[in-house]
Amino acid sequence: MTTSTDTMVATQVYRVYIKASPQAIWDAITKPEWSARYGYGGSVEYDLRPGGTYRALTSDAMKEAGAAMGRPVPDVAVDGEVIEADPPHKLVQTWRMAMDPELAAEGFTRLTYEIAETKGGVTKLTLTHELEGAPRLALLLSGGLEEMGAGGGWSWVLSDLKTLLETGGPLDPGDQLNQG
């Protein structure tokens, strides 16, 4: 992670098309009852106004997995601050992985969700994560640590979100227990 090219891979862009309304996608991102059902599975707390607090809490499954490995997991997985909230179209926030000291030390990054309706009831969700100065986090979020049980990063989370909204269930109901 020290080569010159790595420092240039600073922004990651992910896009997925989901057969759901912009509001359904907005809710899935910002409401705890939805956020607990896909991806890493923690519930979120959003104060949806500029300067408002964002926290993603660790799930019970994460805590159990952490305890089993002798590495206690704190209550807050991710923290940050809302920069702009324009429901259900745009959410800009800061984002820091708080549950791991090394990742937390990389500091706050900037995350943007853009939600745009297209034709046929399909909505385009674009996630842009600006990861300057956070090479370890960038690796984690690109799925580079999946083999180590760290989950598949954003593409995995978005794939799971699509499955949840289109079929009503996660990809693999047991998966969240094994991840993170």
């Binding site: 896009r15 674009t126 799925g143 794939s159 699509k162």
Partner: protein
């Protein structure tokens, strides 16, 4: 069908080469990508267009520049739909074997 577009986009060595370049370093301009290929600017544009239509490349304007980003989600969806479901264990065993035989560091 989106999957069809992804498979078609991947069924071309130049387009796979472009994706590999973006995987190495994301957020490149057309000019940068063009410099790595023995091909006209128009040819590279056409290939990028196919990748964009398949959702494998997403572009973003930054100032005057149009940057190309690799979007791995469509490949992830195919992975989750086809590979995870049927063959993940066998595929990863084969990939490990291939890596080992080719002298890589898995």
């Amino acid at each position: 069908m989106t999957d069809d577009r992804v498979f078609k986009a991947l069924a071309d060595p130049t387009r796979r080469f472009l994706l590999d370049r973006l995987f190495e370093r994301d957020g490149r301009t057309l000019t940068e990508l063009e410099s790595e290929l023995e091909m006209t600017r128009f040819g590279v544009m056409k290939h990028l267009r196919v990748l964009e239509d398949a959702g494998l490349v997403v572009t973003r304007r930054e100032g005057r520049e149009k940057l190309h980003f690799l979007n791995p989600v469509p490949i992830r969806l195919i992975h989750d739909r086809w590979i995870d479901k049927y063959t993940e264990r066998r595929v990863s065993a084969l990939l490990e074997l291939k890596t080992e035989l080719e002298g890589g560091t898995a």
